[in-house]
């Protein structure tokens, strides 16, 4: 995972509450191979007509937002399906941070595993940002993970919270599987005791192997 320290870039305002992962990545693209990139599918049906033409009104089709590296959205962003493809799409489009009053819990976790920083801020702050980003010539923002702050070109700043464990993983680009395999002896010790205590579980019967 690519480390994330601090990022300054174009921030795109996404309108609407409860933007679900079906909108972020329509399900029919879930078959795609990640190696070919998911950026083309990001908000696909909001960005494109059925014949492939761009919808000119959608924010990500307008300058300078088509170069966004940060997304600002309303509450419950990324609700719905657990599809990690939604985060692949966002990431591969070039977005590395999402600012919202609240997130779908699974989407939030999926961000953490892909080097995307989910920034949770009070709704009043976020709706203020949404209004200003739409109105401005230079809709830029900074997401500073090291200092847990977001900033705007006019100097306005807001602190945000992120669990220290996840922050460290993001800052260093930690690979979670590698990290956890380092605790394998503790997992095995737990497992032995657990299986002895819960002996009714037995060995799960193998099905159609």
């Amino acid at each position: 995972m690519q480390p994330f320290i601090s990022l300054t870039g174009i921030a795109a305002p996404i309108q609407g509450r409860n933007i679900d992962t079906d909108q972020i990545l329509p399900a029919r693209f879930l078959k795609a191979d990640r190696a070919r990139g998911y950026g083309q599918f990001f908000f696909h049906d909001a960005r494109f007509e059925a014949d492939g033409r761009e919808k000119p009104d959608f924010v990500l089709n307008r300058e300078p937002f088509r170069h966004a590296t940060i997304v600002v959205a309303d509450e419950n962003f990324g609700c719905g399906s657990s599809r990690e493809g939604a985060v692949y799409a966002l990431h591969d489009f070039g977005v590395r941070a999402v600012i919202a009053p609240s997130f779908g819990d699974i989407f939030y976790n999926n961000c953490l595993k892909n080097g995307v920083v989910p920034v949770q801020l009070e709704r009043a702050v976020v709706t203020g940002l949404l209004d200003r980003l739409r109105a401005e010539d230079r809709p830029e923002m900074t997401v500073d993970l090291e200092n847990l702050r977001i900033g705007r070109p006019d100097g306005a700043q807001h602190a945000f919270a992120l669990d220290p464990f996840w922050r460290e993983c993001l800052l260093q680009g930690v690979d979670e599987i590698q990290l956890t395999l380092g605790s394998l002896d503790r997992i095995e010790a737990f497992e032995r005791q657990y299986r002895a205590d819960m002996n009714w579980l037995g060995e799960p019967p193998a099905a159609a192997r």
């Binding site: 609407g16 679900d20 657990s82 990690e84 709706t127 220290p164 956890t180 737990f190 579980l201 799960p204």
Partner: protein
């Protein structure tokens, strides 16, 4: 108070039992009993292969193809496109490579992950269960901590049988009173979601309690827990009781004989203690729940069938007003229209929310001797549900009504196996999500119970089922 006497919720008891490494703040390393997987798992398998790893305890995994399963044939080549067929073949390859216990598409026990877990007794009280599908919350109905995860998390579970998880806060939703005739489990959960909102339970693990919940069958509890995620909760659960035990006894993968007795003794200790603390408590008046339908593009956009399409102009918050306006534009609805005057083009009965035998019986009871005014399909949640329905003659009722009777799978709920609702078509659906484009680009979904979907089929518009069956 002594540590041992501290009252705990069922969630805390199961969580505590599974903590491998506890951290004061932030995520703990949690042991996972079961990892259930479907075709979407190809990302996680690719991840393992790249690392030169294999599933560490494949016997604690279980696989079944459901999302891409064709519903008119049991071979991958019955899928409408080669791309879809390939998803099932890749899944089979991964099952063999990982030596993962699984049901293939041809197996008569194949079905939707969250239907077959409980049906087979793979889902048991007291366990931690994950699946890379948000509706894993369904399986909490048996008294397990069950939640959806992403592909990276699934790969971590395959490699280590553990997950780093921040402990969620606990929310108890108590449904009081008595369910009125004609009111189904779906109406109860849609009413809960409308009350607390689509993000109302984000960050929480929900326990459903109270007389209305206790009075539900296990199949109905599965419907309620299924849609916990539509209120933002990764998991929802119901404490195991006699209803749970009689449902599980004799299921193929449930413990047997002495192991059963030991399991029951343990499961009896799980329900929340008197005085157990919850971070939040909500009470819902179950007596006031009416047959319910959705009008918008979020499951929180739910109203009693006797209501009217709401007017966004009444919403003071600009963001919320804009969201409602876009929802109505997408749905092609005018404020003030009685919900019962909304004409539908199609009906879908099935999904992990409402694809069990009790659901099919409820739909058949309304459709018996009647014709559907619109095309539609009935998709059983598993091969065994299909067999049971056919043994009871339910398939004849559906076919005589003019509906299609299909093979088991997720079908028109996730709409990626080729079963889709057309652009601007309006579908009365027993599934769980009315999201923009969920059932196909431009598709307009109204969520409701199986009986309500059957009533809508009969009249060709959203309909109070009580008018047809005199409930």
């Amino acid at each position: 108070m002594a540590e041992a006497a501290r009252p705990r919720s069922i969630f805390d008891k199961i969580w505590d039992r599974h903590v491998v490494i506890a951290r004061e703040n932030g995520p703990s390393l949690l042991y996972i009993d079961r990892n259930i997987i479907h075709e979407g798992s190809f990302h996680a398998f690719n991840d393992l292969r790249t690392r030169g790893l294999k599933p560490r305890r494949p016997e604690q995994m279980f696989g079944v193809p459901d999302h891409y399963a064709p519903t008119h044939g049991r071979r991958p080549e019955d899928a409408p496109t080669e791309e879809i067929a390939r998803m099932i073949r890749v899944f089979d390859d991964n099952m063999r490579w990982g030596e993962v216990p699984h049901f293939s598409l041809q197996d008569r026990r194949q079905g939707i992950v969250h239907i077959i877990g409980p049906e087979q007794g793979i889902t048991l009280p007291g366990l931690t269960i994950v699946c890379s599908d948000s509706h894993t919350s369904t399986q909490g109905a048996l008294g397990a901590i069950a939640f959806g995860i992403g592909q990276s998390e699934s790969a971590l579970v395959m490699a280590t049988q553990t997950l780093w998880q921040v402990k969620p806060k606990t929310l108890r939703i108590t449904v009081t009173g008595r369910r009125a005739p004609g009111v189904e489990a779906k109406d109860v959960i849609l009413t809960i979601i409308r009350t607390i909102g689509a993000g109302g339970a984000s960050g929480y693990a929900v326990e459903y309690a109270g007389p209305v919940i206790q009075g539900l069958s296990v199949e109905e509890r599965l419907t309620v827990c299924n849609m916990s995620i539509e209120a933002g909760a990764r998991s929802g659960m119901v404490a195991p009781d006699d209803t749970t035990l009689s449902y599980l006894h004799g299921r193929p993968y449930a413990p047997k004989d002495a192991a059963w007795d030991a399991a029951v003794a343990y499961w009896r200790t799980l329900p929340s203690d008197d005085g157990a603390p919850f971070d939040r408590e909500i009470e819902i008046d179950g007596s006031a729940v009416a047959p319910t339908v959705t009008w918008g593009t979020s499951p929180e956009d739910a109203l009693a069938i006797s209501d009217r399409v709401p007017d966004p102009a009444d919403i003071p918050d600009a963001q919320k007003r804009g969201t409602a306006e876009r929802a109505l534009a997408y749905m092609g609805l005018t404020p003030g229209t009685p919900l019962s005057e909304i004409a539908i083009d199609r009906v879908f009965i099935g999904s992990c929310t409402n694809g069990r035998i009790q659901d099919l019986r409820a739909a058949a009871a309304v459709l018996k001797g009647r014709k559907s005014a619109v095309p539609g399909m009935v998709v059983p949640g598993s091969g065994l549900v299909k067999e049971a329905a056919e043994a009871e003659g339910l398939d004849r009722i559906f076919k005589d009504a003019g509906l299609e009777w299909r093979d088991a799978g997720c079908s028109m709920c996730s709409a990626i196996n080729g079963d889709v609702v057309g652009p601007q078509e309006r579908c009365a659906s027993t599934s769980n999500r009315n999201f923009v484009g969920r059932q196909g680009p431009g598709a307009r979904t109204h969520l409701m119970s199986p009986a309500m979907a059957a009533a809508a089929a009969v009249t060709g518009r959203l309909t109070d089922v009580r008018r047809l069956v005199g409930g």
